[in-house]
């Protein structure tokens, strides 16, 4: 096993781990954030970079082959398509009239909040009570 292979492999694993970290952070944000628009932040950014980094790792591992070209196209496509679909979903939701969650606005606060975030205790620290079964959107 030569030195260059070792370096390549270590780089690959490094990129894979960073990508996986961002992807997991994005997923956790996707589940934890209180409303639809905040979840868009988590998915639109973290998934794009996390998956991009994992694919970059696989390019480093694969070397200069046709397979790498395909993965490069995939990366470019993800970088273009992911923000665009995020934007499309946000526009559709905004057009339908989905209200963004406001921190101080008690009316709207739990209207759009997730029904299932039982682990979301930190968010209720300001003495806010939760109204389950409200408007579900």
């Amino acid at each position: 096993m030569s030195d260059t292979t070792t370096i390549t492999n270590v780089l690959t694993v490094m990129f894979l781990l960073i990508g996986a970290f961002f992807m997991l952070a994005g997923t956790i944000g996707f589940v934890r954030f209180p409303d639809f628009y905040s979840r868009m932040h988590a998915t639109g950014k973290c998934d794009t970079l996390g998956e991009g980094l994992m694919l970059v790792a696989l390019i480093i591992y694969g070397g200069a082959t046709f397979v790498s070209v395909k993965i490069l196209f995939l990366i470019i496509f993800i970088l273009l398509a992911n923000p665009t679909s995020t934007h499309a979903i946000a526009k559709a939701a905004y057009d339908v009239g989905l209200e963004p969650w406001r921190k101080l606005d008690d009316e709207v606060v739990w209207l759009n909040a997730g029904n299932g975030d039982t682990d979301n205790t930190g968010n209720t620290s300001e003495g806010r009570t939760r109204e389950d079964g409200g408007e579900v959107r």
Binding site: V13, L16, M23, T43, L55, F73, L74, F77, S85, G114
Partner: protein
């Protein structure tokens, strides 16, 4: 792609397998939001997110089993996923 060994007994295939399992777990966590998450839009995002994760999963599978066909499938899946999201948000 010779020299697939990383450190000692750990091979690169094992690393890829671990990453694939991580992606599957993340997909299931997102699926929770897809099933539970109030309203149609959260479900659309969940489907989009799982689709994007599946692309990486397919590429990883292609490397694990050394079958280059999977990269074409991943490319197609990316395009289909994008078109599906656009269509779902349009109508």
């Amino acid at each position: 792609m010779a020299g697939t060994e990383l450190f000692g007994t750990i091979e690169m295939v094992d690393v890829f397998l671990a990453m694939a399992i991580t992606i599957v777990i993340a997909s299931f966590v997102s699926l929770y939001r897809g099933i539970e998450g109030p309203g149609i839009f959260n479900r659309i995002i969940a489907v989009n997110v799982i689709g994007t994760k599946t692309i990486v999963l397919l590429v990883l599978i292609g490397f694990i089993y050394e079958r280059p066909d999977f990269f074409d499938i991943a490319l197609l899946y990316a395009i289909l996923n994008f078109i599906m999201t656009i269509a779902a948000t349009r109508y």
